[in-house]
């Protein structure tokens, strides 16, 4: 749930990275944290609530401030969900108040069923917190494009992006930061655009 604070001239928006286990959600945040150009103080610490074996237990969290747009500070909070099937209750908690979604798919052929299952799980969990994917800005990221067993992008598009309204999608290799910023900028722009429209006077046709 976006927050508009006119006193501090701040807009705060929440983006959740969703997807199957080991698809690269945490890697996206790690790369953003490592490589983003920001003014001092505009990047918070990357917090990971992980198991002993470095699997996400609750969520990863990265607060980050974008450049000021016309006097308004735009603050984004990036979260990941745990991908493992057993942590479904946790995924629902993290989705609470979400403004936009990045769905990270694993490009390997062997992971297609998990991608589809995770996408369906996303829709179910959004409904559980009274949200609807059709009403939220979201983008797709096809990660692990560097692997030999990667399926063609067209196939991923067919599986995950063949709805009435197609959303932007980005091939990526998150561990070397390829596609990571393109994805983040696309969802941020889309979110901000929706937010500005909501808070602009409606012009009668």
């Amino acid at each position: 749930m976006a927050i508009l604070n006119a006193a501090t001239k701040e807009v705060q928006l929440k983006i959740v990275y969703y997807g199957p286990a080991l698809c690269g959600k945490t890697t996206n945040l790690v790369e953003v944290h490592k490589r983003v150009q920001t003014a001092p103080g505009n990047k918070g610490r990357l917090v990971s609530l992980a198991t002993n074996s470095d699997r996400t237990l609750f969520f990863d969290f990265l607060p980050i401030e974008a450049k000021t747009v016309k006097g308004f500070k735009t603050k984004f909070q990036l979260y990941t969900v745990p991908g493992q099937v057993i942590y479904n209750a946790t995924r629902q908690l993290v989705l609470r108040g979400v403004d936009g979604i990045v769905f990270v798919a694993d490009s390997q052929y062997s992971k297609m069923a998990e991608n589809v299952e995770s996408f369906q799980n996303l829709e179910e969990n959004l409904r559980a917190v009274n949200l609807n994917l059709a009403d939220l800005p979201y983008v797709l990221q096809y990660n692990k494009r560097d692997l030999e067993g990667a399926a063609p992008v067209e196939y991923l598009e067919f599986l995950l992006n063949s709805r009435d309204v197609q959303v932007p999608s980005f091939p990526a290799t998150a561990h070397d930061c390829t596609g990571v910023f393109e994805t983040l900028n696309a969802i941020s722009r889309s979110l901000l655009s929706k937010f500005i429209t909501q808070h602009s006077p409606q012009v009668a046709a």
Binding site: R35, Q37, G97
Partner: protein, 160 residues
């Protein structure tokens, strides 16, 4: 019932800051924050220099929401508050309304009873401020149409 957190103007923030400042005066607590259950910090009073309040807000909301789920598992509608006791520093989280939480950081030597006692009216005063914000004409005084999304082509840039 508040259906979503309304846009907040300066009067709203000042009203909530006043409630927090009064609470800190009554209890001697170190820091008080108002956060939304999605993890955003809305405003705070007290010591902000020694704590990463942005991260505390995200984690406190996560912890509170996890406790809310636990409550449902033991057939409780909700746990209205969460108390985390440390050796020198403790934290108390009190529900404000459907969307917001009051987070209090205080020295463990202080009476948690007093913190709880004064947190209730503070939460009510803040809830009242949020209700009055909600009752305003939707988006009155807020026009973001001057913001141009074209300006945001690269909100985030990668370091070379």
């Amino acid at each position: 019932m508040i259906t979503t957190l309304p846009p907040l103007n300066e009067a709203d923030i000042h009203g909530m800051d006043d409630a927090l400042a009064e609470f800190l005066k009554q209890t001697d607590a170190t820091t008080a924050l108002i956060i939304d259950k999605g993890g955003f910090m809305i405003t705070h009073q007290g010591d902000a220099r020694h704590f990463d309040l942005t991260t505390i807000a995200a984690l406190a909301s996560g912890a509170y929401m996890a406790n809310e789920t636990i409550a449902s598992l033991v057939h409780e509608a909700k746990f209205n508050s969460v108390y985390q006791q440390g050796e020198s520093c403790s934290m108390f989280v009190n529900c404000i309304d459907e969307y917001c939480l009051l987070v209090i950081i205080f020295a463990s030597k202080l009476s948690v009873g007093a913190v709880k006692y004064f947190a209730a009216p503070a939460a009510e005063a803040i809830a009242e401020q949020l209700r009055s914000a909600q009752d305003r004409e939707p988006d009155s005084g807020f026009d973001l149409s001057a913001l141009n999304v074209a300006d945001t082509e690269s909100l985030f840039r990668k370091r070379a």
